[in-house]
């Protein structure tokens, strides 16, 4: 049997977001995890500069539609306040911080179910406290 052709197709079995295995390309030293509201701000900035695709099926337009729909923070000053609040949670991986805001779970139990890597990391009280703080900056 011939070996796999490099770069052709990779089944990402070794990856598991639930265990924070994101691969070397997304190590926090080389990649910055963004909250949807932060990505939305960058896309809006690009849109205002113009020169973007009108094709609604393009990567840009589909990403913009997505961040428009699922940005639960909306206001730029709230984005900054959330970022400052989250950066105090040093025990959390940057990806976990972004996921908390993106998914905005109601309870610690829900947070640990949809972001499994949180399970051993923070106790329920700390997590509930953080979730309450985050909810105060978001709409809905």
């Amino acid at each position: 049997m011939a070996g796999r052709i490099p770069g052709r197709s990779v089944v990402t079995k070794e990856e598991d977001a639930g265990e924070l295995r994101l691969g070397k390309e997304f190590d926090p030293k080389v990649a910055t995890a963004l909250m949807i509201c932060e990505a939305h701000a960058l896309l809006q900035e690009k849109l205002q500069k113009g020169d973007v695709s009108d094709d609604m099926d393009s990567v840009f337009r589909r990403s913009l539609a997505y961040t428009e729909k699922f940005d639960r923070v909306r206001e730029l000053e709230n984005t900054q306040a959330i970022r400052e609040r989250l950066d105090r949670q040093r025990e959390l991986h940057p990806y976990e911080r972004a996921q908390l805001v993106n998914l905005l779970p109601d309870t610690a139990e829900e947070a640990k179910s949809i972001i499994p890597s949180l399970q051993e990391k923070v106790n329920e009280d700390q997590l509930n406290h953080l979730l309450q703080d985050l909810a105060s900056f978001t709409q809905g």
Binding site: R8, A17, F26, E38, N102
Partner: protein, 178 residues
């Protein structure tokens, strides 16, 4: 869910007729038009070029073509989903054997095997409905999924999702965000 800023490098091949005072603008425009919207394998989808690192490196002449090659370093906003990740998506198509959803540039297939066992396909309404009628999945429904399979190819990515675990499924308050 999936947006990152990463540092990437692109080798740009430039014809000698562009060797003039506006070379650096030419390089910046070329970079944007060549990489934005592209799928970059393990780095995911390149959504926008956020910043180009300055100074732009010195080019090297490729003696076989006469073109100069410039290794341009830049910061890109990428969208990269991961296996095991929970994310929100929008249903784009309902099928008798599952449904398709999209999350940004990513298409996700959810098989009926990965739906809660109390959900049934309603042929007339072209939707999936739970027995107690509380949950309904039709086109444009916002659903929270877990990515259970992800295959990265040179030019695209295939994803499969599941709705079978706790806290997944239609997002009740999605109307607030429209």
């Amino acid at each position: 869910m999936g947006f990152f800023v990463v540092k990437l490098v692109k080798d740009l091949q430039v014809h000698p007729r562009f060797f003039n005072a506006s070379l650096s603008d030419t390089l910046k425009q070329r970079l944007i038009s060549e990489v934005e919207g592209q799928f970059a394998g393990r780095h995911g989808f390149i959504v926008i070029v956020q910043k180009i690192e300055e100074p732009i490196p010195v080019g090297e002449i490729d003696s076989s073509t006469g073109f100069a090659v410039f290794p341009i370093k830049y910061h890109a906003l990428v969208f990269r989903p991961f296996r095991g990740e929970v994310l929100d998506s929008i249903v784009t198509r309902v099928l008798p054997h599952g449904f398709l959803a999209s999350a940004g540039p990513l298409d996700i297939f959810v098989s009926h095997h990965c739906l809660p066992s109390d959900m049934k396909y309603d042929q007339q309404g072209e939707c999936w409905v739970s027995i107690n009628q509380a949950d309904k999945i039709e086109t444009k429904t916002a659903v929270r999924l877990k990515l259970i399979g992800l295959k990265v190819e040179a030019t695209k990515m295939h994803a499969t999702g599941s709705m079978k675990e706790d806290f997944l499924g239609p997002i009740a308050s999605s109307a607030d965000y429209i």
